[in-house]
């Protein structure tokens, strides 16, 4: 059996594409649309390396793991993957990284980079949430921990990821009260 899948990825309409039955979203991204930036870690929903953002009509995003969710869950939705964060020119060349990406570079947050797409997506969703609903400064560490605690990194020991996000939140206008 196959099904027809249509969605918006990083602001571009994709599909309709015929997709075989039983295809997980990560496989669809890799094999059907050649977006290989989303990384496959545990494949069992534990490490959160494979997360992408699913945006609703109000632009509020949900962080979803692609290794345990079938492509059907994303049919008709708008999603963002790691490929959609940096600014690109008309030739597809990167002209500027997103603030979260910059912060991770500055803080040497990652080493092998396998977990990075997941951290970028989750941290981006967090920043967008704080923009809508700023928090007190003394809440920042807790909020970061709550958001990132499920993300596994085997290289850098988390501190530099957490420090980067903290730095970014405290130094971005409007995220804290």
């Amino acid at each position: 059996m196959s099904q027809s899948i249509k969605l918006t990825i990083n602001n571009q309409a994709v599909g309709p594409i015929d997709v075989a039955d039983g295809v997980m979203m990560i496989e669809f991204l890799h094999e059907y649309v050649n977006l290989t930036g989303t990384k496959f870690g545990c494949g069992a929903g534990v490490c959160h390396a494979c997360t992408v953002l699913v945006d609703d009509e109000q632009g509020i995003s949900e962080v979803v793991r692609t290794c345990i969710n079938g492509v059907e869950r994303f049919n008709g939705k708008r999603i963002r993957t790691i490929e959609g964060h940096a600014k690109q020119n008309s030739l597809g060349e990167i002209t500027a990284l997103s603030p979260v990406q910059e912060a991770f570079l500055e803080h040497f947050s990652f080493q092998c980079g396998w977990c990075t797409p997941g951290f970028v997506n989750e941290s981006t969703a967090l920043l967008e949430r704080l923009k809508r609903k700023p928090i007190a400064k003394d809440q920042v560490e807790k909020v970061i921990e709550d958001a990132l605690s499920e993300h596994v990194c085997r290289c850098t020991g988390y501190v530099k990821y957490y420090a980067a996000v903290k730095d970014l939140i405290l130094n971005t206008k409007g995220l804290t009260l």
Partner: protein, 424 residues
């Protein structure tokens, strides 16, 4: 992991209900005389098998309630929130001043069997209505064990229960009308195993406190023994022999469920996880066999039947939902993934007349469960914010039609009504 210690205590809801609905009623009866009868045959013997007492304490799961989060074992202080304020569990270490060190055996017997402590009546958060079935010998063993514990000086916290619910004579009245202290009598026409199981399940394990519905006085309705009841938004299942046998539980399935938390018929969740973790996983092989003989009402071997899978029906709306949301963990054909998610095929939660838990789990998810270094289950997300009532209906119907013997005839109204109870 379980994030809040409160989740360990599904009985909490019962206590809240008990306090809210019945104290006013029983307060009215409070002036009636109430006698706290002394133990029949008790001599304040401190003898008894301490090791056996320690085992019995495990199976009774005493530590779970009598230890505060991060607190010293058995020193009490765990709050039970009620609409009228908090009731705190007490220090039951051997400390003479703040624990139960000054209790003689009769005092202890009265607390365990009649809910009467030396400072007055206990709130029925303490399951003395079940413990009253304990034999004298076992009560002595537990007493001996507690008296052998290291004394911990930790004053009991005053309950923050407000007037008039702080008047404990209401509890006396409740005891008078709702608590019927019985002596455990083995049934002659049942095997020794079965009788041992009955004792473990009903007296020590106090399973009925959650699995038996309550009457208007919130006493267990004995004619509906083990027929299931709603607690904290989940249904403590019907665990009568007829229901368990209908679902084809075998002795091995129950053993696996109680010792490892998972089985051919699914995993435990909600309030049963801490029960397995802290208590049942310590059952000896003999006692485990006794428990399953009693629950299944047979000592005979039960043949496992093939797990139900009626084949996919892609034309149904639930099919796409299943593939999109569930198949990644529960398997394309519902076969499950070891240590990640239970199978849908043969799943006892699906194969119940009541769809309550199926909907509750979809809406609220399941916390992750850790048993040991090789056995853990990852959390299941809840979809209350994402799936609307029609989708929950379609998915629940699909799961039932595909992997159980139940009909797929739920309507939106049923889901809507369930949601109100579950998300309350």
């Amino acid at each position: 992991m379980i994030s809040s210690h409160q989740r360990h205590f599904p009985r909490l809801k019962r206590i809240q209900n008990l306090l809210s609905h019945n104290l006013l009623l029983t307060l009215g009866l409070g002036l009636l005389a109430c006698s706290s009868s002394a133990a029949d045959d008790s001599n304040s013997s401190k003898s008894g098998d301490i090791a056996r007492g320690a085992y019995l304490m495990k199976i009774g799961d005493c530590v779970a309630c009598h230890t505060a989060v991060g607190g010293r074992e058995l020193a009490g202080g765990l709050p039970f929130e009620t609409p009228f304020g908090a009731v705190y569990s007490t220090n039951i270490t051997s400390d003479k001043e703040t624990g139960i060190g000054k209790y003689n055996y009769e005092d202890f017997f009265d607390a365990m069997h009649h809910g009467v402590g030396i400072n007055g009546n206990l709130y029925p958060a303490m399951p003395y209505t079940s413990y009253s079935l304990l034999t004298d010998e076992d009560t002595k063993a537990i007493y001996a064990y507690l008296m052998s514990t290291k004394p911990i000086k930790q004053a009991n916290r005053d309950n923050d229960v407000s007037f008039p619910f702080n008047l404990r004579f209401g509890l006396k009245a409740w005891n008078l009308v709702a608590h019927d202290a019985k002596i455990f009598t083995p049934s002659k026409d049942k095997s020794e195993h079965w009788n041992r199981g009955n004792y473990l399940v009903n007296a020590l394990g106090h399973c009925g406190e959650c699995h038996t519905p309550r009457d208007s006085l919130f006493a267990m309705e004995q004619d509906k023994h083990f027929q299931g009841a709603i607690i904290e938004g989940l249904e403590a299942s019907n665990i009568t022999p007829s229901e368990l046998n209908r679902q084809n539980w075998t002795h091995g399935d129950l053993k696996s469920l109680f010792t490892k938390g998972y089985s051919r018929k699914g995993t435990v969740f909600g309030g049963m996880y801490p029960v397995v973790y802290h208590s049942f996983s310590y059952l000896t092989d003999d006692d485990m066999q006794a428990v399953s003989s009693y629950l299944l009402d047979t000592d005979e071997v039960i043949e496992p039947q093939a797990l139900t899978f009626n084949g996919h029906k892609p034309e149904l709306p639930g099919y796409t939902l299943y593939k999109g949301y569930c198949a990644g963990c529960h398997g394309q054909n519902g076969e499950g993934k070891p240590n990640v998610a239970p199978a849908m095929a043969g799943n006892a939660t699906l194969d119940k007349a009541s769809v309550h838990n199926v909907v509750a789990v979809m809406l609220k998810g399941i916390n992750s469960q850790h048993y040991n270094s090789t056995t853990s289950f990852y959390a299941m997300p809840g979809y209350a914010d994402e799936l609307h009532d029609e989708q929950i209906r379609d998915l629940a119907n699909y799961l039932r039609l595909t992997w159980s013997t139940q009909p797929g005839n739920l309507d939106v109204k049923t889901i809507h009504n369930l949601k109100e109870v579950i998300l309350k």
